[in-house]
Symmetry: C2
Subunit: 345 residues, 2 copies
């Protein structure tokens, strides 16, 4: 965070928005009017469907500002909504950011947040077109709303999985969860120390997966190049167990996934061992991986394997058989969703 | 609020959403997929442009649950975003509601909130298509995001006002502000009383304007029937002074409005007198009126007057002359915007 401290009141209502939205550029012809009116105006593109999604982040629930840099937070908020769009097989187009802020927060802190948002917008080619900034009596609240577009017929729902379909997963799981555990541990330890020196060496990978996760836009590119439209797709935000169960519920089917096929990074299992946390728990219930889980017909097995960027971790079964994790010794564990705090409506 | 108390945990994550979104119907063919996936899916309509807008409401800042019934709050949140769409000359289409809630809030309270949302959705013909429900450490936070549609070329911006244009206003101003003052007064008085009996008789009009304001969809209908496309438009949420100044800033112009032409309801001035609040202050800075302010070329004066539902309160001037309120004695008061708490980006 910068050293200088400017009060929001100094800039006034017009000045703040001008300053925060400076340097944002628009990438899409469909953005007719961005920031600065009662609403943004978008032109429809013939032959496309529009996807609309929203995600909120609450201080004290979804992030802890004692260790979460605001620049990373801005980046992560964009990742979260873009990931939702990708899970529908759509490409990002427009973004709105709504903030609830204490009037005590300095302008420089908001600039850091917007620097992360701007970086992500550029990387993801998404246009900031508006939002709403209000006072909050309590902590920082950020709501991101995004539009995306997909060719007509290419939108992928959670509901299309069929019996015998293969369950495919991108990346590895549990790293973001372990990154969070590490940050929480150092926070506890250092709260009792005068000169805090957090021990993060060797854990950079886990920290980045938690603090600055990248959405899997590359996967949507690869699927398109190969002409693969998944039968169903969801992004992993609540943990594999909960998200797979949501997909199965929407598709009215069951699933069997195999523990030894779920990729877990070495850094994840190493820290898990050190902190006595079962990496399977991190994988099944950790959440915030922002990886994609999708299904394809079994006839596409070879084609999917050839991609080199996904793992087939199981297959879809009949609804009545439920959702199970099969352990290497042949044991079967019935999956359970973790409840609150998040439900997407 | 209902007497029964169901904990959110009892329903689980799927059950809560199912229960809250029960009974919502979709009105628009453009809604391809509503609640229940990573995002909503919309079909573009040929010859139309899409408007996107968002509004957040924070407990303790934007509403006080000690006197704000949740059903009304749900209705008002929809009014706020629909009003933004109308201000762009667009018709409501799709709605997303994001909530930040304490896990202690009973399901029945959320059902009351959604009853108000459902009522407004039906009345405004807007389709609930999704959202996000998360835990909040603190108070209730509601973010509404809406899409609207207008025929290509019919979208009205804040930026189109030209010198000599007439400034037109719907409805009367200051009533919502006085309704809020009344509620706050009764809250203060009754906090010291064992059996509270709030004195609201005769003030129903003011209370309704604050607690359950209606968006001016009727005005958009009338303008369309008469073939009038305003040169600029904004909805009145921050107060006439601030909102007129935003319009002038976007249009690079000044304005002169005449105090005696601004309609103030009898109930507003009566209570203002009783509470020693200048109704002019309520009018200029009160906000939350959800009326529309728009400009038309001076050649349309007769046509606008004939509508019978708007008042011409002034005219647009050169930018360098600034924004002024002219009092009946010919005095000129330079308008000032009230700063924080709200800026729309």
């Amino acid at each position: 965070m910068n050293k200088k401290r400017t009060e929001i009141a100094e800039l006034g209502e017009f000045g703040l928005i001008d300053r925060l939205t400076e340097g944002f550029t628009c990438h899409h012809a469909s953005t007719l009017k961005g920031v600065g009116d009662d609403g943004a105006v978008l032109a429809p593109t013939e032959g496309e469907e529009l996807v609309l999604t929203t995600d909120s982040f609450f201080e004290g629930v979804d992030f802890d500002l004692t260790y979460f840099p605001l620049k990373h937070l801005g980046y992560k908020v964009v990742t979260a909504v873009v990931s939702d769009l990708l899970a529908m097989n759509a490409r990002p187009r427009q973004l709105m950011i709504s903030l609830g802020i204490s009037s005590k927060i300095p302008v420089e802190a908001l600039e850091d947040l917007y620097e992360g948002i701007r970086f992500a917008c550029h990387e993801q080619q998404i246009d900031l077109v508006g939002g709403d900034t209000r006072a909050s009596m309590t902590g920082l609240v950020i709501t991101a709303t995004a539009t995306g577009a997909a060719k007509k017929g290419a939108v992928t729902y959670r509901s299309g999985a069929k019996q015998h379909d293969l369950i495919c997963l991108t990346g590895n799981l549990g790293a973001a969860f372990m990154g969070l555990q590490l940050l929480e541990r150092e926070k506890r330890v250092l709260s009792e120390v005068d000169v805090p020196e957090p021990q993060f060496k060797g854990h950079e990978y886990l920290l980045e997966k938690y603090l600055k996760p990248r959405p899997r836009t590359d996967i949507i590119d690869v699927l398109e190049e190969e002409g693969i439209i998944p039968t169903a797709m969801i992004d992993l935000t609540d943990g594999l167990a909960s998200d797979l169960m949501q997909l199965c519920r929407s598709s009215k089917c069951g699933a069997r996934i195999y523990l030894e096929r779920i990729p877990i990074a070495r850094q994840t299992s190493d820290l898990g061992e050190e902190m006595h946390i079962d990496p399977v728990v991190a994988t099944l219930n950790g959440g915030e991986d922002y990886e994609l889980l999708f299904t394809v017909p079994i006839t596409m097995q070879e084609q999917v394997m050839r991609l080199g960027v996904v793992d087939v971790i199981g297959h879809i079964t009949e609804e009545k058989t439920g959702c199970y994790l099969v352990t290497p010794d042949g044991g079967e564990i019935k999956l359970k969703a973790q409840g609150f705090p998040e439900q997407e409506a």
